[in-house]
């Protein structure tokens, strides 16, 4: 009887040893896999912390910028909080973004983007033009300040009277009045040019008989459905600082037509609204095709 129980004991002991041996074989594989995964977890944790720190910094920066904006609006003095190195840097960054935005805004509102040149002996200004919200060409102008104030190089087209505007507006003593007048002329020119472009795009059925570089004269040919005749329309823009014509004249075989109520209204329309818009209205009313 003792032999059997010893045998059972030995067998179970042997099978235990076998299990242990088997598990020892698979353990190293498992261990290295676990190590790999643990390392990955650590790396991800570090990445997450870094991103959280950056996002928090960004939020602090935005808060600082908001408080800077508020201080500027209320014209208060900048408070001095605890000046850790990080908060100083953050404050600088907030101020940097604020200044960049303000300078960009100056540019957008048609500012002259004045730059000093030749060690302060001259300046360069940019004159932006826009019409109906669309920014168009920008012109540049160099002005010498020393020894005398005079106009240097520029890319303004010759039919804009830069020198005479400088004289009339007394550029020597009032640079801004001169630049404002020049800007007005350039913008009016850009506006007239843009109107012509829009007219050509939107009203292909209307023939442009005559136009000039300064866009100060425009002759159009209208087809009038009711009268089966053509109307020649002349728009004179004698005021070069304006986008609207100073005179509108109709010529037609039917001499009565220009004096009719309807065409008198069309005349006012063309005098008071930009030409491409006026033509759209006239087409809607069926006066022209």
């Amino acid at each position: 009887m003792e032999a059997a129980s010893t045998k059972a004991g030995v067998l179970s002991h042997l099978s235990l040893l076998e299990v242990q041996a088997r598990s020892r074989r698979t353990q190293p594989q498992q261990q290295s896999r676990v190590k790999e995964l643990k390392a990955k977890v650590e790396a991800l944790k570090v990445q997450k912390q870094q991103l959280e720190a950056e996002i928090e910094t960004h939020q602090n920066l935005q808060k600082l910028r908001l408080s800077l904006d508020k201080q500027c609006a209320d014209e208060e003095d900048v408070e001095m909080e605890e000046d850790s190195e990080n908060s100083q840097l953050l404050r600088l960054m907030a101020r940097h973004t604020q200044l960049k935005d303000l300078l960009h805004a100056h540019h957008l509102i048609g500012g002259y983007d004045i730059i000093k040149t030749r060690q302060g002996k001259g300046v360069c200004v940019s004159l932006a033009t826009a019409y109906e919200g669309v920014y168009l060409d920008t012109y540049n102008l160099e002005i010498d300040l020393k020894p005398t104030v005079k106009i240097g190089r520029h890319n303004i087209p010759p039919f804009i009277p830069v020198n005479s505007l400088a004289e009339v507006n007394d550029m020597q003593t009032n640079m801004r009045a001169f630049l404002d007048a020049l800007s007005q002329h350039l913008n009016a020119f850009a506006g007239r040019k843009q109107q012509l472009k829009l007219l050509r795009e939107q009203h292909k059925s209307i023939e442009v008989m005559e136009s000039n570089v300064l866009c100060s004269i425009l002759v159009l040919m209208f087809k009038v459905p009711s009268a089966k005749t053509a109307v020649l329309c002349t728009l004179d823009y004698t005021d070069h600082s304006s986008c609207l014509p100073t005179r509108v004249h109709f010529e037609c075989e039917d001499k009565q037509l220009p004096d009719s109520d309807q065409w008198k209204k069309n005349c006012s329309l063309l005098m008071e609204t930009p030409v491409h818009t006026a033509l759209t209205a006239m087409k809607k009313m069926g006066d022209i095709v």
């Binding site: 997450k48 935005d101 805004a105 500012g111 826009a130």
Partner: protein, 259 residues
């Protein structure tokens, strides 16, 4: 085995969190109008030694240059901006749509405007368009500014006109003040020096009003208009006429000397 499964689950969770944070960071970077990614990273300790000091000193220099630049622009443009808030509404590789709110002052006139801006950049084609312009705050009632700009979205025209209008208002204010100081017994400014009216009490209890209005046309043309309005008691009419002419002449001459 259990440990492996646990770790794998943890990794999945962390990866999802990191992706969410990366998306948030991308959104943040859209709002930042400057390339401060490197600086923000260095602030958080990621970056070579000494990076922070370098970043600090180069930033300081740039900020000083920009402040000097802003002073120059403010002086040249005649407009002082004290706030600019830009919010990016939509942004793709070629097109950015932003909403901007600007506030500032032109001499004595405060304003606040808001507009949407669309910028498209495709190879060499670049377009910048302003739409939806609205005037939020302005205290220059004589200037029908909202008609002027809200239809045409002409930001440039608005600011040019504002400057000219402001210059004419300043001229008027200086002239009124000059006359009040020179002839304090005759001249009074019932609405203050920034108003349209100067009141003159001349002899024989008659009062004259100088109304100096500044009109702004739809096209942005600014035209000052000086009128002399009279309030005359009946019996003094004949004597008044003579005196009135000489007074008007004197006034006009005086104005030309100032303006």
């Amino acid at each position: 085995m259990e440990e492996v499964q646990m770790l794998e689950a943890q990794i999945e969770r962390l990866q999802a969190e990191v992706e969410a944070l990366q998306r948030q960071q991308q959104d943040n970077q859209k709002d930042i109008t400057f390339q401060f990614r490197g600086q923000i990273a260095s602030l958080c300790g990621r970056g070579p030694v000494g990076e922070k000091e370098r970043v600090m000193s180069s930033l300081k220099e740039e900020v000083e240059e920009m402040e000097e630049d802003l002073r120059r622009q403010t002086q040249m443009n005649g407009i002082s901006l004290n706030g600019c808030n830009a919010k990016t509404l939509r942004s793709s590789e070629s097109k950015v749509v932003q909403q901007l709110c600007l506030s500032g002052r032109c001499s004595e006139l405060d304003f606040q405007v808001e507009f949407k801006l669309s910028e498209v950049k495709v190879s060499s084609f670049h377009s910048l368009v302003i739409f939806l312009f609205s005037l939020l705050i302005w205290d220059f009632s004589a200037f029908q500014a909202d008609e002027l700009v809200e239809e045409s979205c002409d930001l440039l025209l608005f600011f040019r006109t504002l400057r000219t209008f402001s210059d004419r208002c300043d001229d008027r204010s200086k002239t009124f003040q000059h006359f009040q100081q020179k002839y304090p017994s005759v001249v009074s400014l019932p609405g203050g020096c920034r108003s349209e009216v100067m009141r003159l009490s001349v002899v024989f209890s008659c009062v004259l009003f100088v109304r100096w209005s500044i009109d702004v046309s739809r096209e942005g043309g600014v035209s000052p208009n000086i009128e002399l309005l009279t309030k005359i008691p009946d019996q003094d009419t004949s004597k008044m006429c003579k005196k009135r002419h000489s007074l008007v002449f004197h006034l006009k001459r005086g104005k030309n000397a100032i303006v």
